[in-house]
Chain length 200, copies 2
Amino acid sequence: MTAVSREPYDVAALVDVAVRVFLDRGYDRASMGDVARAAGLGKSSLYHHVAGKEELLEHALRRALDGLFASLEEPASTQGPPSARLGVVIRRTVEIMCERPAEVALLLRVRGNTEIERWAMQRRREFDRVVTALVEEAIAAGELRNDLHPALVTRLVFGMSNSVVEWYRPHGRTRPEQIVEAVTAIVFDGLRATERGERR
Amino acid sequence: MTAVSREPYDVAALVDVAVRVFLDRGYDRASMGDVARAAGLGKSSLYHHVAGKEELLEHALRRALDGLFASLEEPASTQGPPSARLGVVIRRTVEIMCERPAEVALLLRVRGNTEIERWAMQRRREFDRVVTALVEEAIAAGELRNDLHPALVTRLVFGMSNSVVEWYRPHGRTRPEQIVEAVTAIVFDGLRATERGERR
Protein backbone atom coordinates (compact mmCIF):
# COMPACT_ATOMS: atom_id res chain seq x y z
CA MET A 1 0.00 0.00 0.00
CA THR A 2 1.73 3.18 -1.17
CA ALA A 3 0.83 6.83 -0.80
CA VAL A 4 0.49 7.09 -4.57
CA SER A 5 -2.16 4.36 -4.83
CA ARG A 6 -4.30 6.23 -2.29
CA GLU A 7 -4.70 9.33 -4.42
CA PRO A 8 -8.14 10.89 -3.90
CA TYR A 9 -9.07 10.45 -7.56
CA ASP A 10 -8.76 6.68 -7.35
CA VAL A 11 -10.83 6.38 -4.23
CA ALA A 12 -13.58 8.64 -5.61
CA ALA A 13 -13.87 6.50 -8.74
CA LEU A 14 -14.00 3.33 -6.64
CA VAL A 15 -16.70 4.84 -4.44
CA ASP A 16 -18.75 5.54 -7.60
CA VAL A 17 -18.48 1.86 -8.52
CA ALA A 18 -19.18 0.67 -4.97
CA VAL A 19 -22.37 2.76 -4.75
CA ARG A 20 -23.73 1.03 -7.86
CA VAL A 21 -22.77 -2.40 -6.54
CA PHE A 22 -24.27 -1.70 -3.08
CA LEU A 23 -27.54 -0.52 -4.65
CA ASP A 24 -27.72 -3.50 -7.03
CA ARG A 25 -26.89 -6.27 -4.57
CA GLY A 26 -27.68 -4.65 -1.25
CA TYR A 27 -24.83 -3.59 1.04
CA ASP A 28 -25.06 -6.67 3.29
CA ARG A 29 -24.65 -9.10 0.42
CA ALA A 30 -22.17 -7.12 -1.69
CA SER A 31 -18.57 -8.23 -1.26
CA MET A 32 -15.22 -6.56 -1.94
CA GLY A 33 -14.91 -9.15 -4.71
CA ASP A 34 -18.08 -7.77 -6.34
CA VAL A 35 -16.72 -4.22 -6.15
CA ALA A 36 -13.35 -5.31 -7.55
CA ARG A 37 -15.02 -7.12 -10.47
CA ALA A 38 -17.25 -4.13 -11.24
CA ALA A 39 -14.20 -1.85 -11.15
CA GLY A 40 -12.18 -4.18 -13.38
CA LEU A 41 -9.55 -4.58 -10.66
CA GLY A 42 -8.08 -7.52 -8.84
CA LYS A 43 -9.28 -7.83 -5.26
CA SER A 44 -5.78 -7.21 -3.91
CA SER A 45 -5.50 -4.01 -6.00
CA LEU A 46 -8.80 -2.85 -4.48
CA TYR A 47 -7.35 -3.38 -1.00
CA HIS A 48 -4.44 -1.14 -1.98
CA HIS A 49 -6.93 1.70 -2.21
CA VAL A 50 -9.40 1.09 0.61
CA ALA A 51 -9.30 -0.88 3.83
CA GLY A 52 -12.64 -2.59 3.23
CA LYS A 53 -16.33 -2.46 2.40
CA GLU A 54 -17.17 -0.25 5.37
CA GLU A 55 -14.71 2.41 4.20
CA LEU A 56 -16.38 2.51 0.77
CA LEU A 57 -19.80 2.79 2.40
CA GLU A 58 -18.60 5.58 4.68
CA HIS A 59 -17.24 7.58 1.73
CA ALA A 60 -20.53 7.09 -0.14
CA LEU A 61 -22.75 8.08 2.79
CA ARG A 62 -20.58 11.09 3.57
CA ARG A 63 -21.22 12.43 0.07
CA ALA A 64 -24.95 12.50 0.84
CA LEU A 65 -24.71 13.55 4.49
CA ASP A 66 -22.06 16.25 3.94
CA GLY A 67 -24.29 17.83 1.33
CA LEU A 68 -27.33 17.74 3.59
CA PHE A 69 -25.51 19.20 6.59
CA ALA A 70 -23.75 21.84 4.47
CA SER A 71 -27.22 23.03 3.45
CA LEU A 72 -27.92 23.85 7.11
CA GLU A 73 -24.86 26.07 7.36
CA GLU A 74 -25.22 28.22 4.28
CA PRO A 75 -25.76 31.91 5.14
CA ALA A 76 -29.21 31.75 3.48
CA SER A 77 -30.29 28.99 5.85
CA THR A 78 -28.94 30.59 9.02
CA GLN A 79 -30.12 34.20 8.54
CA GLY A 80 -33.51 35.68 7.90
CA PRO A 81 -37.09 34.60 8.62
CA PRO A 82 -37.34 30.92 9.62
CA SER A 83 -39.72 29.97 6.79
CA ALA A 84 -37.33 31.44 4.21
CA ARG A 85 -34.48 29.47 5.84
CA LEU A 86 -36.63 26.33 5.69
CA GLY A 87 -37.24 27.05 2.01
CA VAL A 88 -33.49 27.20 1.39
CA VAL A 89 -32.92 23.88 3.18
CA ILE A 90 -35.70 22.19 1.18
CA ARG A 91 -34.32 23.62 -2.06
CA ARG A 92 -30.77 22.47 -1.31
CA THR A 93 -32.02 19.04 -0.23
CA VAL A 94 -33.81 18.51 -3.53
CA GLU A 95 -30.70 19.72 -5.38
CA ILE A 96 -28.60 17.17 -3.48
CA MET A 97 -31.10 14.40 -4.43
CA CYS A 98 -30.54 15.38 -8.07
CA GLU A 99 -26.75 15.72 -7.76
CA ARG A 100 -26.25 12.50 -5.81
CA PRO A 101 -29.35 10.32 -6.35
CA ALA A 102 -27.44 7.05 -5.92
CA GLU A 103 -25.68 8.08 -2.71
CA VAL A 104 -28.92 9.42 -1.21
CA ALA A 105 -30.78 6.23 -2.23
CA LEU A 106 -28.07 4.26 -0.40
CA LEU A 107 -28.41 6.50 2.66
CA LEU A 108 -32.19 5.98 2.68
CA ARG A 109 -31.77 2.18 2.59
CA VAL A 110 -29.31 1.95 5.46
CA ARG A 111 -30.75 -0.35 8.11
CA GLY A 112 -28.24 -0.15 10.97
CA ASN A 113 -26.49 -3.54 10.74
CA THR A 114 -22.98 -2.08 11.07
CA GLU A 115 -21.35 0.76 12.98
CA ILE A 116 -21.14 3.00 9.89
CA GLU A 117 -24.81 2.41 9.13
CA ARG A 118 -25.81 3.26 12.70
CA TRP A 119 -23.68 6.43 12.49
CA ALA A 120 -25.44 7.39 9.25
CA MET A 121 -28.88 6.79 10.77
CA GLN A 122 -27.84 8.91 13.75
CA ARG A 123 -26.81 11.72 11.38
CA ARG A 124 -30.14 11.47 9.53
CA ARG A 125 -31.99 11.80 12.82
CA GLU A 126 -29.86 14.86 13.72
CA PHE A 127 -30.74 16.42 10.38
CA ASP A 128 -34.45 15.74 10.98
CA ARG A 129 -34.21 17.30 14.45
CA VAL A 130 -32.60 20.48 13.13
CA VAL A 131 -35.24 20.81 10.41
CA THR A 132 -38.08 20.06 12.84
CA ALA A 133 -36.74 22.83 15.09
CA LEU A 134 -36.77 25.17 12.09
CA VAL A 135 -40.40 24.23 11.35
CA GLU A 136 -41.26 24.91 15.01
CA GLU A 137 -39.51 28.27 14.83
CA ALA A 138 -41.43 29.22 11.68
CA ILE A 139 -44.72 28.24 13.33
CA ALA A 140 -43.86 30.22 16.46
CA ALA A 141 -43.07 33.23 14.26
CA GLY A 142 -46.55 32.95 12.73
CA GLU A 143 -45.11 32.22 9.29
CA LEU A 144 -46.39 28.64 9.02
CA ARG A 145 -49.79 27.21 9.97
CA ASN A 146 -49.92 25.96 13.55
CA ASP A 147 -52.42 23.10 13.24
CA LEU A 148 -49.99 20.34 12.17
CA HIS A 149 -47.38 18.51 14.21
CA PRO A 150 -43.87 19.83 13.30
CA ALA A 151 -42.18 16.39 13.37
CA LEU A 152 -44.91 14.93 11.14
CA VAL A 153 -44.63 17.87 8.74
CA THR A 154 -40.86 17.37 8.55
CA ARG A 155 -41.25 13.65 7.81
CA LEU A 156 -43.78 14.30 5.06
CA VAL A 157 -41.85 17.12 3.43
CA PHE A 158 -38.66 15.05 3.34
CA GLY A 159 -40.66 11.97 2.31
CA MET A 160 -41.70 13.98 -0.72
CA SER A 161 -38.23 15.31 -1.54
CA ASN A 162 -36.52 11.95 -0.83
CA SER A 163 -38.90 10.22 -3.24
CA VAL A 164 -37.17 12.09 -6.07
CA VAL A 165 -34.19 9.69 -5.90
CA GLU A 166 -36.51 6.81 -6.89
CA TRP A 167 -37.22 8.19 -10.35
CA TYR A 168 -34.87 11.12 -11.07
CA ARG A 169 -32.45 10.51 -13.93
CA PRO A 170 -29.71 13.04 -14.75
CA HIS A 171 -30.22 14.21 -18.34
CA GLY A 172 -33.88 13.03 -18.16
CA ARG A 173 -36.83 15.19 -19.14
CA THR A 174 -37.41 16.73 -15.72
CA ARG A 175 -34.83 19.31 -14.70
CA PRO A 176 -33.76 19.79 -11.06
CA GLU A 177 -35.06 23.39 -11.09
CA GLN A 178 -38.55 22.17 -12.00
CA ILE A 179 -38.50 19.69 -9.13
CA VAL A 180 -37.24 22.33 -6.69
CA GLU A 181 -39.97 24.69 -7.83
CA ALA A 182 -42.74 22.08 -7.57
CA VAL A 183 -41.67 20.82 -4.13
CA THR A 184 -41.35 24.34 -2.76
CA ALA A 185 -44.69 25.39 -4.28
CA ILE A 186 -46.54 22.40 -2.80
CA VAL A 187 -44.89 22.63 0.61
CA PHE A 188 -45.53 26.33 1.14
CA ASP A 189 -48.64 27.11 -0.88
CA GLY A 190 -50.25 23.83 -1.90
CA LEU A 191 -51.96 23.01 -5.15
CA ARG A 192 -55.26 24.80 -4.66
CA ALA A 193 -55.87 27.63 -7.10
CA THR A 194 -56.31 30.97 -5.36
CA GLU A 195 -57.39 34.42 -6.46
CA ARG A 196 -54.39 35.93 -4.69
CA GLY A 197 -51.71 37.36 -6.95
CA GLU A 198 -48.83 35.76 -5.10
CA ARG A 199 -48.68 32.62 -7.18
CA ARG A 200 -45.60 32.50 -9.34
CA MET B 1 -52.77 -31.05 -2.38
CA THR B 2 -56.38 -31.13 -1.17
CA ALA B 3 -59.19 -28.60 -1.29
CA VAL B 4 -59.15 -28.40 2.51
CA SER B 5 -55.50 -27.37 2.72
CA ARG B 6 -56.21 -24.45 0.37
CA GLU B 7 -58.68 -22.76 2.68
CA PRO B 8 -58.45 -18.98 2.34
CA TYR B 9 -57.52 -18.55 5.99
CA ASP B 10 -54.36 -20.61 5.63
CA VAL B 11 -53.18 -18.80 2.55
CA ALA B 12 -53.81 -15.37 4.08
CA ALA B 13 -51.70 -16.28 7.13
CA LEU B 14 -48.93 -17.59 4.90
CA VAL B 15 -48.99 -14.40 2.84
CA ASP B 16 -48.54 -12.41 6.07
CA VAL B 17 -45.43 -14.45 6.83
CA ALA B 18 -44.15 -14.26 3.25
CA VAL B 19 -44.45 -10.46 3.21
CA ARG B 20 -42.18 -10.23 6.25
CA VAL B 21 -39.67 -12.67 4.76
CA PHE B 22 -39.66 -10.89 1.38
CA LEU B 23 -39.08 -7.51 3.06
CA ASP B 24 -36.30 -8.88 5.31
CA ARG B 25 -34.35 -10.84 2.70
CA GLY B 26 -35.49 -9.24 -0.52
CA TYR B 27 -37.85 -11.12 -2.81
CA ASP B 28 -35.10 -12.31 -5.19
CA ARG B 29 -33.10 -13.95 -2.44
CA ALA B 30 -35.96 -15.26 -0.31
CA SER B 31 -36.73 -18.94 -0.87
CA MET B 32 -39.80 -21.07 -0.20
CA GLY B 33 -37.60 -22.71 2.46
CA ASP B 34 -37.24 -19.34 4.21
CA VAL B 35 -41.01 -18.81 4.15
CA ALA B 36 -41.65 -22.34 5.43
CA ARG B 37 -39.17 -21.88 8.30
CA ALA B 38 -40.69 -18.51 9.26
CA ALA B 39 -44.17 -20.09 9.19
CA GLY B 40 -43.03 -23.06 11.25
CA LEU B 41 -44.02 -25.45 8.47
CA GLY B 42 -42.19 -28.07 6.49
CA LYS B 43 -41.44 -27.02 2.92
CA SER B 44 -43.73 -29.73 1.52
CA SER B 45 -46.60 -28.53 3.73
CA LEU B 46 -46.08 -25.03 2.36
CA TYR B 47 -46.39 -26.40 -1.18
CA HIS B 48 -49.74 -27.92 -0.16
CA HIS B 49 -51.02 -24.36 0.23
CA VAL B 50 -49.36 -22.41 -2.54
CA ALA B 51 -47.76 -23.30 -5.85
CA GLY B 52 -44.64 -21.23 -5.25
CA LYS B 53 -42.97 -17.97 -4.31
CA GLU B 54 -44.58 -16.04 -7.18
CA GLU B 55 -48.06 -16.96 -5.95
CA LEU B 56 -47.25 -15.59 -2.48
CA LEU B 57 -45.90 -12.39 -4.00
CA GLU B 58 -48.97 -12.01 -6.19
CA HIS B 59 -51.30 -12.36 -3.19
CA ALA B 60 -49.25 -9.80 -1.27
CA LEU B 61 -49.11 -7.25 -4.11
CA ARG B 62 -52.83 -7.67 -4.79
CA ARG B 63 -53.59 -6.60 -1.23
CA ALA B 64 -51.88 -3.27 -1.91
CA LEU B 65 -53.01 -2.83 -5.51
CA ASP B 66 -56.64 -3.86 -4.92
CA GLY B 67 -56.87 -1.24 -2.19
CA LEU B 68 -55.37 1.46 -4.38
CA PHE B 69 -57.61 0.69 -7.35
CA ALA B 70 -60.73 0.35 -5.17
CA SER B 71 -60.05 3.93 -4.01
CA LEU B 72 -60.52 5.08 -7.62
CA GLU B 73 -63.96 3.49 -7.85
CA GLU B 74 -65.59 4.73 -4.67
CA PRO B 75 -68.56 7.03 -5.37
CA ALA B 76 -66.71 9.90 -3.64
CA SER B 77 -63.82 9.61 -6.10
CA THR B 78 -65.96 9.33 -9.22
CA GLN B 79 -68.53 12.08 -8.58
CA GLY B 80 -68.17 15.75 -7.80
CA PRO B 81 -65.50 18.38 -8.49
CA PRO B 82 -62.19 16.85 -9.62
CA SER B 83 -60.13 18.36 -6.78
CA ALA B 84 -62.52 16.87 -4.20
CA ARG B 85 -62.21 13.50 -5.95
CA LEU B 86 -58.43 13.85 -5.91
CA GLY B 87 -58.67 14.58 -2.18
CA VAL B 88 -60.59 11.34 -1.64
CA VAL B 89 -58.01 9.31 -3.58
CA ILE B 90 -55.14 10.84 -1.60
CA ARG B 91 -56.97 10.20 1.67
CA ARG B 92 -57.70 6.55 0.81
CA THR B 93 -54.14 6.03 -0.40
CA VAL B 94 -52.73 7.21 2.92
CA GLU B 95 -55.23 4.99 4.74
CA ILE B 96 -54.07 1.99 2.68
CA MET B 97 -50.42 2.82 3.58
CA CYS B 98 -51.45 2.65 7.23
CA GLU B 99 -53.59 -0.50 6.85
CA ARG B 100 -51.07 -2.43 4.75
CA PRO B 101 -47.64 -0.77 5.26
CA ALA B 102 -45.72 -4.01 4.65
CA GLU B 103 -47.57 -4.92 1.45
CA VAL B 104 -47.21 -1.38 0.10
CA ALA B 105 -43.49 -1.33 1.02
CA LEU B 106 -43.12 -4.58 -0.94
CA LEU B 107 -44.99 -3.07 -3.91
CA LEU B 108 -42.70 -0.02 -3.86
CA ARG B 109 -39.57 -2.22 -3.94
CA VAL B 110 -40.64 -4.35 -6.87
CA ARG B 111 -38.00 -4.09 -9.61
CA GLY B 112 -39.48 -6.10 -12.50
CA ASN B 113 -37.35 -9.25 -12.47
CA THR B 114 -40.34 -11.60 -12.82
CA GLU B 115 -43.67 -11.58 -14.64
CA ILE B 116 -45.64 -10.83 -11.46
CA GLU B 117 -43.32 -7.93 -10.65
CA ARG B 118 -43.69 -6.50 -14.15
CA TRP B 119 -47.47 -6.84 -13.85
CA ALA B 120 -47.38 -4.96 -10.51
CA MET B 121 -45.23 -2.18 -12.00
CA GLN B 122 -47.67 -1.93 -14.89
CA ARG B 123 -50.57 -1.59 -12.43
CA ARG B 124 -48.67 1.13 -10.52
CA ARG B 125 -48.17 3.05 -13.75
CA GLU B 126 -51.88 2.70 -14.57
CA PHE B 127 -52.74 4.08 -11.14
CA ASP B 128 -50.36 7.02 -11.69
CA ARG B 129 -51.92 7.73 -15.07
CA VAL B 130 -55.47 7.80 -13.67
CA VAL B 131 -54.40 10.15 -10.89
CA THR B 132 -52.41 12.36 -13.27
CA ALA B 133 -55.55 12.63 -15.44
CA LEU B 134 -57.50 13.67 -12.34
CA VAL B 135 -54.89 16.35 -11.55
CA GLU B 136 -55.16 17.59 -15.17
CA GLU B 137 -58.95 17.69 -14.90
CA ALA B 138 -58.76 19.69 -11.67
CA ILE B 139 -56.33 22.16 -13.28
CA ALA B 140 -58.58 22.50 -16.34
CA ALA B 141 -61.53 23.18 -14.03
CA GLY B 142 -59.55 26.03 -12.44
CA GLU B 143 -59.51 24.26 -9.06
CA LEU B 144 -55.76 23.64 -8.92
CA ARG B 145 -52.88 25.93 -9.84
CA ASN B 146 -51.81 25.61 -13.47
CA ASP B 147 -48.09 26.39 -13.20
CA LEU B 148 -46.84 22.89 -12.32
CA HIS B 149 -46.56 19.79 -14.50
CA PRO B 150 -49.40 17.34 -13.61
CA ALA B 151 -47.22 14.21 -13.85
CA LEU B 152 -44.56 15.79 -11.63
CA VAL B 153 -47.20 16.87 -9.12
CA THR B 154 -48.60 13.31 -9.05
CA ARG B 155 -45.15 11.81 -8.45
CA LEU B 156 -44.39 14.24 -5.62
CA VAL B 157 -47.77 13.84 -3.92
CA PHE B 158 -47.50 10.04 -3.98
CA GLY B 159 -43.84 10.26 -3.03
CA MET B 160 -45.00 12.02 0.11
CA SER B 161 -47.82 9.60 0.89
CA ASN B 162 -45.74 6.51 0.00
CA SER B 163 -43.01 7.64 2.38
CA VAL B 164 -45.40 6.93 5.25
CA VAL B 165 -44.75 3.16 4.91
CA GLU B 166 -41.09 3.76 5.81
CA TRP B 167 -41.86 4.91 9.34
CA TYR B 168 -45.53 4.25 10.15
CA ARG B 169 -46.09 1.71 12.92
CA PRO B 170 -49.61 0.50 13.77
CA HIS B 171 -50.30 1.36 17.40
CA GLY B 172 -47.50 3.98 17.30
CA ARG B 173 -47.97 7.57 18.45
CA THR B 174 -49.11 8.98 15.11
CA ARG B 175 -52.65 8.02 14.12
CA PRO B 176 -53.66 7.47 10.48
CA GLU B 177 -56.19 10.34 10.69
CA GLN B 178 -53.38 12.76 11.65
CA ILE B 179 -51.33 11.64 8.68
CA VAL B 180 -54.30 11.92 6.30
CA GLU B 181 -55.02 15.41 7.60
CA ALA B 182 -51.41 16.56 7.30
CA VAL B 183 -50.90 15.16 3.79
CA THR B 184 -54.17 16.66 2.56
CA ALA B 185 -53.42 20.00 4.19
CA ILE B 186 -49.95 20.24 2.66
CA VAL B 187 -51.04 19.06 -0.80
CA PHE B 188 -53.97 21.43 -1.16
CA ASP B 189 -53.10 24.45 0.97
CA GLY B 190 -49.43 24.20 1.89
CA LEU B 191 -47.79 25.17 5.14
CA ARG B 192 -47.76 28.95 4.80
CA ALA B 193 -49.89 30.75 7.37
CA THR B 194 -52.60 32.84 5.76
CA GLU B 195 -55.02 35.43 7.02
CA ARG B 196 -57.87 33.67 5.24
CA GLY B 197 -60.34 31.89 7.46
CA GLU B 198 -60.40 28.69 5.47
CA ARG B 199 -57.65 26.97 7.44
CA ARG B 200 -59.02 24.17 9.57
